[in-house]
Homo-oligomer: 219 residues x 2
């Protein structure tokens, strides 16, 4: 009755590359809550436990995913551009990667990023910032504060206070207009189509404010 006389090679062998690609795809499709080792195994045509041959635990897999996302932040904008343009371009890429990984970004934002690639990417960004700032201190603080903005922006557009899960039913429009007039007045500019402009306005305001109050040696 053996219809597969030899070893069943019905699928390509597993590999970290394939596992991580499938994991990211699954997370971005189903959301973080919809992810599990068993579902990932099913996706890949193997048992959940087979994945433990490649990663000691799910946490290690997740760290590998962080590493993989961080890889997209390694290449720096061309040095021919003015410094501020380079920094701006990096921030825009940050947002694009976040939007491309909506399911995973919530995880990334709430977990430590100390994999080798993530550290290299962070090091690269700090070095870039250092070029246009007057001291190590200013570079450190600008990196941090700019990071706050970028982290919050990515989160908001993927899983934040307006898009994340909730058990509460959405408030009907009529009640909304009556009880929350300020929210209602602002709502048109909360639409997804308005988000890119808001992101850029905030980014430029932040850079203007930070660099304007200082000597801006790098501009």
């Amino acid at each position: 009755m053996q219809d597969a006389p030899k070893k069943r090679r019905k699928r390509p062998p597993l590999s970290p590359e394939g596992i991580e690609t499938a994991a990211l795809a699954l997370i971005n499709r189903e959301g973080l809550a919809g992810f599990s080792m068993r579902k990932l195994g099913a996706e890949l045509g193997c048992e959940a436990m087979s994945l433990y041959h490649y990663y000691p635990s799910m946490g290690h897999l997740m760290d590998a995913l962080i590493d993989r996302i961080a890889r997209q932040y390694l290449p720096m904008p061309p040095a021919s551009l003015p410094w501020r343009e380079r920094l701006r371009a990096f921030c825009i890429r940050w947002r694009a990667v976040a939007l491309a990984n909506p399911g995973f970004f919530g995880f990334l934002a709430t977990h430590r990023m100390n994999t080798p690639t993530a550290l290299r990417a962070i090091d690269g960004v700090i070095a870039l910032i250092r070029e246009g700032t007057a001291s190590d201190e200013e570079a450190a603080r600008l990196f941090r504060a700019l990071g706050y903005y970028l982290m919050g922006a990515g989160l908001d557009e993927t899983a934040g206070y307006s898009r994340g899960p909730s058990t509460v039913a959405p408030v009907p429009a009529a009640e909304m207009a009556r009880d929350y007039p300020a929210v209602t007045a602002a709502a048109p500019w909360f639409a997804p189509a308005a988000r890119e402009a808001t992101f850029l306005m905030g980014l430029d305001a932040f850079l203007d404010g930070w660099l304007g109050a200082r000597g801006q040696p790098g501009v």
Copy 2:
């Protein structure tokens, strides 16, 4: 053998108030991953299922916690202060509440906030911002962009890329200095003691930049 002849009233009866207080305390003490309905029950001296008498599901409990945190954002700074000072004071309180709820903030930042109290708080902030801006559009965009900064700052100081969990062992100092020189140079200003100043510098830079490029009618 019954040592408790009548009904055992060895603890006060359950209540939403008590459940939510215990839940927040547990989450802030053990972290989000260390929280479960059974552990919360144990903390309160009841079974996990007893909690379902007060909340249809754990998600509803979590939404109640969001509502409870949002309550702390309802009172607005005194109207006697200049507009910008009021906005600034609100942002500082935002950070304080985040720091007071380190375990829960990671949840709050990645979930929808549409409970009644949260909506009222958001409405209040937008109304405050509207006072000092020239249009509904500007108020909406400033609220959003400022929210990015605040969300990222709270996250970073409670669960973010430098404090969250990870399976990767911390990089030794020697290797750090050799492979990540920019991070090493910046490290002194990444220390917890430096964070408040960084937060305020970023906040003021952002407000300067946003308001400076415009008419600043409210200042």
